[in-house]
Symmetry: C2
Subunit: 127 residues, 2 copies
């Protein structure tokens, strides 16, 4: 899809998403990975993530009971070899100010993580 992604990103205080990705045109997608029915049922935060992306997806494996998942969310099904988008959700475009702030924080977070790999002592997290 040409997206560049970052794991464990914090879009706002108290929220941490599994994957955020940035497309070639600046599209921001969030992907939450769910391993089981219980994992989904106990998630109290995911609706808060919707305000921080243009499209929201669940990523599950082939055994997951997908009927549990909201039909309006995107769906990615993964196996050991890769992952495929099975349902592309409607886009809900972010407002420009929020998009700019998220993109800036994505950029800083990715670069600071790179710097941390090169020079671990230079950093204090999380970012």
């Amino acid at each position: 899809m040409g997206h560049a992604s970052l794991v464990e990103f914090i879009p706002a205080r108290g929220l941490r998403v599994d994957v955020i990705s940035l497309g070639p045109k600046g599209e921001i997608w969030i992907v939450e990975c769910k391993s089981s029915r219980a994992d989904f049922a106990t998630d109290r935060k995911w609706q808060g993530y919707l305000d921080f992306c243009d499209r929201y997806f669940w990523a599950v494996d082939a055994d997951f009971p997908i009927d549990l998942l909201p039909a309006e969310s995107g769906l990615i099904v993964a196996d050991a070899y890769g992952a495929e988008i099975q349902r592309m959700p409607q886009e809900t475009r972010l407002a420009a100010a929020r998009r700019n702030k998220l993109t800036r924080e994505f950029a800083r977070s990715a670069a600071l993580r790179m710097q941390g790999l090169a020079d671990p002592e230079s950093l204090s997290g999380p970012f």
Copy 2:
């Protein structure tokens, strides 16, 4: 300074800067490193970099003949232990559209480089 930086960044086709950095408020700085008089004298591209940052700096070591450098540029002097801003240049604010595009490309470049470290086969550069 709280900046997150990336080396060898391509702000536009045909241009490649030594360091680009992104500050907490979205400030974009470019730093060019020069090792010697000849290195500076043969640089035919640096004026093109001015259009892609809010502030532009030279980074040199203590032996460099700094009188060569344009007085309006920023100056960073480095040694084996660190680097210090010796002259902060005036800010020339980027237009919003260019800032957004640069920030997006910075973000994608940093994240794709991270992905490349984790999974080298996934990538083809440069970015």
